[in-house]
Symmetry: C2
Subunit: 363 residues, 2 copies
């Protein structure tokens, strides 16, 4: 696929196993590696698009499942698509909705057609299929979209469930590719979103190998690694990432690890060939007063020892919050009285922390 | 008092009864008339100081009562005073704590010494006196401070209570002035905060006249009108403001109406000689999805009719939120899913709305 082969330019391998590159999307270039915060409801929680951009973040992720349920992709489209909606002007990546359907919906039924689940608010039954996931993501106006896959939990490895999910994921991938081609047939190549296929296989290395081969052999613009950071140990996750790293082909396609945001994991993944990562961790931690400081240490700002601490979160940090001198004592107070500004300021700090990690691999 | 007589410069009366002027504070000039948002806990809720400044707001108010209880003025001072704490670099005005002691504390006892009340969190008994109110406000680092007064509710007019409160307020004012002079004796005149005396008297016009005379005869830098917007009708409030308007003397002192923030009331007050106003209304309304649009109309953004509304809050508005094109449909969605960004964006809009009203009287 010609277009897909020109998505990555300036690929430079580093000694540590990482690589720097530039990803071309229909909404501008992205410097890789890159960390993408989750804008679950269409915006990164409590931050303006301008505040997010100020952290150096280049891509924001939005959740197909949540936006499909509320306000619905038709409404988002009428309000200008995701970019007109939340005013983030850089590239946006949407997930497939698969992860949320499997992790949040208690009443769900998986058939070859797709997944039927109960709407958590209205109670009506909804069906998401590989085809409708493609349709929803395109309707939302996403620049990078993810194939709808069958995710299995770590507790579902008995009775060949991992194999069954693996096989279904690949049948569904073919349906996603077909539907994606149909939906984008009239678009000039430069205006097409990038479709990521998802590698599954749980902790079974042979299934992972086959899955990667199948995804790399498909007509997709990006390779996503799914089914990790779902409850397994770090060692188990690292083993899969290490196993996959020599198996990536030389096609100019970005590699996206879903749902990973802890600094040591980000470093490990990037040094094993990953280009893109997303996670709710930096913003969720921030809202709970937990911030990273140099050396990947976590500090909890509600701790009483910070009551009169005049120091910024991290004296070496160049984020808006630290550069403007907001003290740990001030932030502690605002958290203690339930003032949401504290969570916003700490979200900015944590996003800058992760973005700076990525920037180190680019230079 | 020489210093007080040079606080206001460029006083220009308008045809409509309002006046434009420049107020000199130790932290820069303020263009009058001006609306001051409430930063109850040391910051305007959910907004950075930069976002507040972007609305054109020049002065932020902080609540002495709340900050005294948590984290305490000693902690605020160690964290750099209110300016170092919340990073607002313009002038800050603190109230006396009196209003909250009277309105929020159920267990309170008023003596000539001061007011004893129960700490709402620790349960210990606390005493605030005219002297300690001055000390707390100076310790917080405020640029404009308010005398500690005896406020009576509208339901407490029986048995001479309004008269009793009126008389105590003026005895307390003298104690405030004495303590203020003691505390600021070593400061160069240009570094002294401005002390506002408070006019009380409920809805009793004769008491209001005497109270204003006493305050204007005191050695204070500003005149505050208290005890309004506490549950009386608009007509009752307007009657007091109209009654007072010809009674202000010609001293170069600003007139501050406490706790008024509804646009028609702001216009009425300004056109009856008021220079400064504060209220929680614009930010509290905003957090509850209520915003002002041209003509002082209120719209409730959670209304279903805004679901697919691509229009900004007010097409004629120049606030950050409207200028950046955030649609009513987007804001409605964010309110419906509990995303705090919606309240922040609407707070910006409402503060800009009130500030623009003030600006119209300045030109």
């Amino acid at each position: 696929m010609d277009v897909n082969n020109t998505l990555l330019t300036g690929v430079k391998p580093n000694q540590d196993g990482s690589r720097a590159a530039t990803l071309r999307t229909r909404r501008g270039e992205v410097q890789l590696p890159t960390f993408m915060p989750d804008g679950t409801r269409g915006v990164v929680k409590s931050l303006t698009a301008e505040q997010v951009a100020g952290t150096g973040v280049q891509v924001v992720l939005a959740n197909t499942y949540h936006l499909h349920l509320q306000p619905g992709e038709a409404t988002v489209k009428k309000l200008g698509g995701l970019h007109g909606f939340g005013k983030w002007q850089g590239p946006i990546l949407t997930d497939s909705g698969g992860f949320q359907v499997f992790s949040l919906s208690k009443l769900r039924k998986i058939t070859e057609e797709g997944v039927t689940f109960k709407h958590p608010v209205t109670g009506e039954m909804r069906l998401i299929t590989p085809e409708s996931s493609m349709q929803i993501q395109l309707e939302l106006g996403s620049d990078m979209i993810v194939a709808f896959d069958h995710l299995t939990g770590l507790d579902e490895t008995e009775g060949g469930k991992t194999l069954e999910a693996f096989e279904r994921t690949h049948r569904w991938l073919e349906r996603c590719v077909t539907e994606f081609k149909r939906l984008t047939a009239d678009m000039p190549a430069s205006e097409r979103p990038i479709l990521f296929g998802v590698v599954q296989g749980g902790l079974d290395l042979e299934l992972r190998r086959k899955s990667l081969e199948l995804v790399q052999g498909s007509d997709v613009g990006g390779i996503a690694i799914g089914g990790l950071s779902v409850g397994e140990t770090k060692e188990e996750m690292y083993r899969v990432l290490e196993f996959l790293s020599p198996l990536y082909d030389n096609s100019a396609r970005p590699r996206f690890l879903l749902g990973v945001g802890d600094p040591p994991d980000i470093r490990y993944a990037i040094e094993h060939g990953i280009d893109m990562l997303d996670c709710v961790l930096p913003t969720r931690n921030a809202r709970h007063a937990t911030v990273w400081v140099e050396g990947d240490e976590k500090i909890h700002l509600t701790n009483a020892k910070f009551t009169e601490d005049t120091e910024v979160i991290d004296p070496g940090c160049d984020c808006y919050t630290c550069a403007n001198g907001y003290s740990r004592g001030f932030l502690r107070h605002q958290f203690k009285v339930g003032e949401p500004l504290a969570g916003s300021l700490c979200s900015i700090h944590n996003l800058r922390y992760l973005t700076r990690i990525c920037e180190e691999y680019r230079s």
